[in-house]
Amino acid sequence: MSAITEKLKTLYANRMGLRIASTVALLAYPIGGVLLIALPRHLEFVGGIFLAIAAFSFFYLLPSYVQRVAFLPHILRFVDKDCRLDELELDLRRRAQSFAYKVFSMLVLAGLMYLVLGADMARDANPSSFWMPTVDDHWLAILFGALFFVLLLPIAYLSWMMPEPILDDEPGDKICDQEVSRMDAFVMTGMCVGLAMGMTVFGDALVGMFVGTALGFLLDLFLRRLEKKKES
């Protein structure tokens, strides 16, 4: 098989991987959450497995090209002048964010309607007919779910709707469709790990998130400096 066909196969496999990961992540989080609530205590781990699958898929998507198109931080332009989106990518970002806004708004509205109905039922006669968030863990799971969907919906849209990748006609060209945006990955990983550490170890989720994000950003800047020194 020719090298070009091999490269194209890799490109399409990458795109398919992104599609599967984004869909799995979007489905696995709510399923995991529902199972954690619905299953008896000794079977809660099944819900945990779904949450782990969602997290794994999320971290697979973080360094992807579609994530870069959806969320390339503007701050990167100050660090790296070549790191910018062109008009097609900006157009795709607008479409992805518009789609995500519509879907997220509908989900929030549906959630609020559920809460209003649940509160109404609880007041009337049958409090057990509607599950309602009662403890901190429930509310945190909802908060994480909202964050998760805010980040994932534009990525999922782009994974499915971006035009199929094109191979450059220069021999020996690298595959650009899956190029890694390390800073995004570091910052978002730092944010998530910081949030988790803040909640469990330090006792303050916001401080943990802030520190994690800052550390991810600084680590990337430090590595960029090292690379530039090596090059020079």
Partner: protein, 87 residues
């Protein structure tokens, strides 16, 4: 649905012997964008259309059109017919 805009970017690029990456660098876009333009997946903004026309040194309507461009074979055949009729 957006109107389909036809272009001859691939033809001009091949004529100049340029890769997508080289053309992309000249007009300051990602090389994939040039590929998507050539394939008709994406319509260029006016700014990019003017940049491309300027780069190839042709009027913008020579590079982009709302109607499909005639093929090279068709153009050659018409030219030959014109030459024959003028003789």
């Amino acid at each position: 649905m957006a109107t389909e805009i036809h272009n001859r970017i691939a033809l001009f690029r091949a004529e100049r012997g340029l890769s997508r990456k080289e053309l992309a660098k000249a007009v300051n876009v990602n090389f994939q964008t040039i590929g998507y333009l050539e394939r008709g997946d994406f319509n260029a903004s006016l700014e990019l259309a003017l940049k491309l026309a300027g780069f190839f040194d042709v009027p913008v309507e020579g590079l982009f059109s709302l109607k499909p461009f005639a093929s090279i074979a068709e153009i050659t055949r018409r030219q030959e017919e014109q030459e024959r009729s003028s003789k």
